[in-house]
Amino acid sequence: MPGSGHEGPGTRDLAIVGAGPAGMAAAVAASRAGLDVVLVDAQARLGGQYFRHAPPGLRAGHPGTPQRGFGRFTRLAEALTGVDVRLGHRVWAVEKAVEKNAERNTAGNAGKAAGNDPGNEADQNPGKDAAAGFIVHCLAGTRDERRVTLRARRLLIATGAHDRPLPFPGWDLPGVLTAGGAQALLKGDLVPAGRTVVVAGTGPFLLPVAAGLAEAGARVAGVFEANGGAGLAPALAVRPGKLAEGAGYLWRLARRRVPYAVRHAVVEAHGGDRLTHVTVARLGRDWTPGARRTIACDALAVGYGFVPQIELATQLGCATEAGGDGEQVVVVDAGMRTSVPGVYAAGEPTGVGGADLAEAEGWIAGRAVAADLGRPVRPAPALSRRRDRLAAFGRAMQDAYPVRDGWKGWLRGDTLVCRCEEVPYARVREALALGATDARSVKLLARPGMGWCQGRVCGYAVARLAGETSPPPRRPVAHPVRLGDLAGLPDRADETQGTANDPAGEEAR
């Protein structure tokens, strides 16, 4: 299925970045409406984080392993038959295909593109459509990484979210991982993060992580929720069914005698070469730590919510705003259209709300793109109502599981805030004393966020330490790219012109 149908170069109707619930649903909706769709994902398998699953060979060895939502995933995956699925494609930049860029292309390619696509005329009429489409710059392959460039008239950003950790002494020890990372190991490789695991942080996501670990054979030595869960009423008023789901997880944990405590957090991790135990503290209202005790463990899965991955949207200048958890989200209308004509966003980039919301937004976005490109699409008010209800639930959950600034009290001067650049808290304080007043100026003076992860891990912490909410990401290069690939060396010129599957291009390496 991947790569089938559209071997040649050309401008597609729709490029979707991210093949999780939102991207898959959008691809199905758009291709059912007759659009020529390319679906791109960095991972080797479809599904994103929520539908993450082990390869069939590995699954066969673990017949009993539960794969949540797998039926839904299979139905979506099977409906992707007409879609050009590009897995293992890491998108490092997206740009508008304006006239300036059109000139850069060989005339042959542009001609072929127009010939392939009967709907292309509309895009060449600047009065009707300001953007001449979009260019999606990818890196494909693993060992023989190569540059692949895709073109589409419309672009959907469905790039999900990543974990939001908080720093604390010892969080850089091997054995400490994010809750999402622990779940990815379990879902994708069927490997529990450790023999004895502590799960800590805040939010409902901790429960499936802990239950999954326990059921996969790990001893879960405790689940520590930093909030009290007192603010849950508004969320459950919107989706009472979620109460049963939460209760179900708690029952599964209780059945395995997993201790569960609210208003507690892991405030320090200990160990020499790797994690041996953690300090758990009772938290006051604003998360100032109180009474402490230690728990032996060889793995700690910790997560304080999620950060929507929106740098591709900000590369294109899409408007953003602070969401309920302080993270920047892409502003969209009822059809998931962003402020930039032709660019859509669905799923966590519009606000973290989970897989159900992401999928609903994906359906809406796919249909909206089709309608905007002149395909007949019947209105679906029920879908919009479902989206509104799920989004309201997502916002209410964020309100119920806030991050309180008391975590700053867990830090010591030598606690690393940025692990990539090894920036301790003392250097952040020094930058603030020197006149830094926001995350960017702290970064300029003390280097947190300048390393490999580009601030994805420490961004929230640095912004809060500087006294602001997270600013919109500025990442012109969304994924590391080799200078040789960026240069588009002459012997690979064909590939950089959009002939993604051109075997001659691969040989040229």
Binding site: G435, D438, R440, R447, V477, L483, G488
Partner: protein
């Protein structure tokens, strides 16, 4: 009342504040943003004498290079007297490069001609396809943001107020007697306009026309090299002779020339592009591609290294490529220290030193007439 208000907490404002405070003046530095967050925070930290033709800017650069060596003693920021290596692709370009070096020598610039066969001794990983080059030992590099911040914190008694935006100037007739800000009026004996690319806006508050325009530049940053990956790939500041002509060009269109250097943190910085596109921050992939192409052409080994980030900034550009330094006769009490284009880091100490001299009533040690603010008036 404070003796001096400096508008702008970039490296030029910091140097003005530093030398003014050292001269015994009370100084308040204002910035609408944080410290060093404008063009200072988007540069490479060049301290170059090699790219300047003999003339007033080169004199400023030589004074500045000497002052940076002194300032490095303050500590707390990286300063590397690494030297610059200018390379030429053809013997014709090498000829004009050599001529320039000889002319610069007359002004006090040290240089060493480097034959093609000697280039590997300076930079082992340079492409062999070069005609030769010139080595400039006085070229150096500084971490500009920390340098600006340390100059401010090292300025005796100087007060830094971030998040304070100047919205007007206090006047007594023509005379400028302080600034109006979003946090109230600040009377001052003198006001220094060190607002970089935004200095034209400050001048406009006095009803003056200062034609300073943004000239955008992108920089690519690689993953850290060196350390466990081996010795630093690039030892000096290396650039092609085309950079000198690009710097002096008046073109509005895109110009790129390779300027490549390593930093103590192991990253390699790759510039330089010049475009006049206003304050547009939209990433231009073609510019990034051009920078990468030129970098790989000079250092083929860089092809396998990954770019982990890119950023852009806006050089404060004057039509005649000279900075604006000195008292403004049209508005007594107002001094300018701006318009340094891409050389602001390098020229900051000399600028600050000269402006502080004027503020303290001393005779300037350098002829300031080429930099006079009123030179653009029709």
């Amino acid at each position: 009342m404070t003796d001096v208000v400096v508008v702008g907490a970039g490296v030029v404002g910091a140097a003005c504040a530093y030398y003014a405070a050292r001269a015994g003046l009370s100084v308040t530095v204002l910035d609408r943003g944080p410290v060093a967050a404008g063009t200072t925070g988007a540069g490479e930290g060049n301290i170059l004498v090699s790219d300047k033709e003999p003339g007033p800017e080169l004199e400023l650069a030589l004074l500045s290079a000497r002052l940076w060596r002194e300032l490095a003693g303050l500590g707390g920021f990286e300063y590397e007297a690494k030297g610059g290596l200018v390379v030429a692709e053809t013997s014709e370009v090498l000829g004009s490069l050599a001529d320039l070096a000889v002319a610069q020598a007359g002004a006090g610039v040290e240089h060493v001609p480097v034959a093609a066969g000697e280039l590997p001794g300076y930079e082992p990983d340079l492409t062999p396809d070069l005609a030769g080059g010139v080595y400039y030992p006085q070229d150096s590099q500084v971490q500009p943001m920390l340098a600006a911040a340390r100059l401010l914190s090292g300025a005796p008694g100087a007060v830094l107020r971030t998040g304070v935006e100047v919205t007007g100037l206090l006047r007594d007739g023509d005379r400028v007697t302080g600034v109006r800000t979003n946090e109230g009026d600040i009377p001052a004996g003198a006001v220094v306009n060190a607002a970089g690319t935004w200095s034209g806006e400050v001048a406009a508050l006095a009803g003056l026309d200062l034609p300073i325009l943004p000239r955008r530049g992108f920089i690519l940053v690689t993953e850290p090299l060196g350390g466990r990956l081996g010795p630093p790939l690039i030892r000096h500041k290396v650039y092609t002779a085309a950079y000198v002509t690009d710097v002096a060009s008046d073109s509005e269109g895109l110009e790129t020339s390779a300027v490549i250097e390593g930093t103590p943190s192991g990253t390699v910085l790759i510039g330089a592009s010049r475009e006049r596109v206003g304050f547009d921050r939209t990433t231009s992939i073609p510019v990034l591609e051009a920078l990468a192409r030129q970098a790989v052409a000079l250092f083929p080994g860089l092809a396998a290294r990954r770019v982990i980030r890119a950023y852009c900034g806006f050089r404060p550009y004057c039509p005649d490529h000279l900075p604006v330094i000195g008292a403004d006769p049209r508005a007594p009490g107002l001094y300018h220290a701006c318009g340094h284009e891409g050389a602001g880091i390098g020229l900051a100490p000399a600028t600050g030193h000269l402006v502080a001299g004027l503020l303290a009533g001393a005779a300037p040690t350098l002829d300031l007439s080429p930099f006079r603010p009123e030179r653009f008036a029709a």
